[in-house]
């Protein structure tokens, strides 16, 4: 089974053996790039169709089922449509920025995949501070959003871009803060090391971070911040089509629009991959005897499950108002991430003194108590909602 686990690593080494030694680093990088683009490009196509089908089912309708078997060739049809559409650039637009924005959005996100460990020995590059690299390249999307909004010379684009910036900057804070407990407890910024730290088994169950109180809380906070960071419903205000047409995408069409679409999904994939790595044990098997299944299969199984959760959330929660969005970030999520860091500290220092179960209950109790109190406090000044038409 070890050979199947390392099949891609072996394949890469075998291909590299045909490359002259001097060019091997370049060759290795190129091979990784091709693999990442192929895998996540396919994942993008697959996600769009599965998302539309899933959302359809959530709304009690069958979803797209016309193109190909069960509608699974729909992404091809979409691609043909996107590529053959006229590319319209507004007369008053800043042509250079308008052209560059989709590229600036997509390229850094591809870079973020370079540090994710997709399986045992399967990360494109080894960096000691890979998580810092990840967040650094990830924040370039803010720039792209603002470039798109500004260069389009359209008020809806600009409003969308402003919303995008405010939202992304606000949620960048809890996104990073919610990963801090993981970094504290595993004592490293290297994603491979973080996965290794979760590779043990206690009673046959994997020692994933999500099974600890600070890990579970951090995971939920991370998922919420990641949804907002990748501009997905219910945090898709920058594109709120009911208010501002398509936000910063208003003036984009054809291939550039497709690139934005791709960039958005890739951003989602990248943070999902990070969530798997940080909280769900990366490529580790959940149960000890399941270790025979190749590690990369575990990574992509968890990855797919998290994407399904994102789609589920999109079909469930209605879009927020902008003040609600920012209040939620600064008054609720950020304090909770800070408390979670404190909880992680308590967890760490109590390890010598208390039994595991007691430690678990105390830490979970502190976090949940704070959560409940903060929630109640924030809704104090609001009259209870009355729904005239629902219920």
């Amino acid at each position: 089974m070890n050979s199947l686990d390392q099949i891609f690593v072996t394949l890469k080494q075998w291909l590299l053996s045909y490359v002259p030694t001097d060019f091997q680093p370049v060759g290795s990088a190129l091979l990784s790039i091709v693999a990442i683009i192929a895998v996540f490009g396919t994942a993008f196509a697959l996600t769009t169709i599965l998302e539309r089908k899933g959302l359809g089912r959530i709304q009690n309708r069958p979803g797209p089922n016309r193109v190909g078997p069960c509608g699974f060739l729909q992404p091809m049809a979409d691609a043909v449509k996107m590529l053959t559409k006229e590319d319209i650039v507004p007369y008053a637009a800043d042509k250079v920025l308008h052209y560059l924005a989709p590229i600036v959005l997509t390229v850094p996100i591809w870079l973020a995949f370079a540090v994710l460990p997709f399986g045992r020995n399967m990360s494109a590059i080894e960096l000691d501070a890979s998580i810092v690299f990840f967040f650094a390249v990830g924040s370039a999307s803010e720039l792209a959003v603002f470039m798109a909004g500004w260069s389009s010379h359209n008020k809806y684009s600009l409003i969308g871009a402003m919303r995008g910036i405010a939202q992304m900057i606000s949620y960048e804070v809890p996104l990073v803060l919610s990963t801090v407990p993981v970094l504290m407890l595993s004592g490293t910024l290297n994603l491979n090391e973080i996965v290794n730290a979760q590779s043990g088994f206690s009673f046959g169950v994997g020692q994933w971070n999500v099974f600890t109180p600070w890990g579970a809380a951090g995971f939920l906070l991370f998922m919420i911040a990641a949804t907002a960071e990748s501009n997905r419903a219910p945090f898709d205000l920058p594109e709120g089509e009911s208010e501002i047409i398509a936000g910063f995408l208003t003036e984009y069409s054809g291939f550039k629009y497709a690139l934005f679409f791709l960039g958005e999904y890739l951003g989602l994939f990248a943070v999902t991959g990070l969530a798997v790595t940080l909280f769900l044990g990366g490529w580790n098997a959940p149960l000890a005897f399941l270790n025979v299944v190749p590690s990369w299969l575990w990574f992509f199984a968890k990855f797919g499950a998290l994407i399904a959760v994102f789609i589920w959330a999109r079909g469930t929660v209605p879009r927020l108002r902008f003040d609600q969005l920012l209040n939620f970030a600064w008054k609720f999520i950020v304090p909770l991430t800070l408390v979670n860091i404190a909880v992680a500290g308590i967890w760490y220092f109590s390890s010598d003194h208390l039994a595991y179960a007691v430690r678990w209950l105390i830490c979970a109790g502190i976090f949940l108590g704070f959560y409940e109190l903060l929630g109640r406090f924030l809704s104090l000044k609001r009259a209870p909602r009355t729904y005239r038409y629902a219920e």
Binding site: R57, I58, N60, R61, P62, W312, T316, E372, S379
Partner: protein, 222 residues
């Protein structure tokens, strides 16, 4: 069952959508949409799309008399009528012009149904066809007399209530016209004076009047 911790509503929402997701697979009753080209829903009786022309028996029995009232009333000005030189007898036995050309540009028609309201001869009615898409946006969207003409049976099939009412009004008008013609003929024979040329004009205006009144009554009824 009502939990009341913070965020309980969100959890309940997630449960609800999960139930929809799973339920829609094993309970087809849940699916609210119809797979359109394969399955079509029966249309309600009052659905109207574009106008059509009613004929009795065959195309030569087209009720239209080329009076052009609908052409003038159409707010979208999408009807074009050219009178023919030949005449034919209408259902009251009077000699009327026929339309040589009767075109409706359904790209412009807004389905208001005013033409059907104003027609004094119950000739133009609203159709229920809705698969009207064409490859070209000009010529195929102009419907000619041949495409517009449809039988009275078709009218009965799509608008049963309206068709029955129209038929009874027309029968009534016809019966009245026949009695009047018989009375006139009797009077003429009895008086045995020389024939007056005005008779036909009087009868004509009267018959139009009856039909118009019938139309007004119909409008009030609907």
């Amino acid at each position: 069952m009502k939990f009341n911790f913070q965020g309980a509503g969100i959890v309940r929402g997630f449960v609800e959508t999960a139930r929809n997701f799973l339920g829609s697979y094993y309970d087809p009753e849940r699916l609210t949409t119809v797979e359109y080209p394969e399955r079509k829903l029966a249309l309600p009786e009052n659905v109207r799309t574009v106008p059509f022309l009613v004929y009795d028996h065959d195309m030569s029995g087209l009720r239209c008399t080329a009076c052009k009232i609908c052409e003038q009333e159409c707010p979208a000005a999408c009807i074009k009528i050219i009178k023919d030189t030949v005449k034919k007898s209408d259902y009251l036995g009077k000699s009327q012009f026929q339309p040589q050309v009767f075109d409706i540009d359904i790209a412009v028609c807004m389905s208001c149904g005013i033409c059907a309201e104003v027609c004094p001869f119950d000739s133009i009615k609203m159709d229920q066809v809705y698969e009207l898409a064409t490859q070209d946006r000009f010529a195929p969207l102009i419907l000619h007399k041949e495409q517009l003409g449809k039988s009275n049976a078709y009218f009965h099939a799509i608008h049963p209530t309206d068709a029955v009412e129209t038929d009874s009004l027309r029968d009534e008008a016809k019966r009245k016209a026949e009695t009047k013609a018989a009375a006139d003929a009797a009077a003429k024979a009895a008086a045995a004076v020389k024939p007056k040329p005005e008779i036909s004009t009087t009868a004509n205006s009267q018959s139009v009047g009856t039909s118009a009144t019938a139309n007004v009554e119909k409008a009030v009824a609907t």
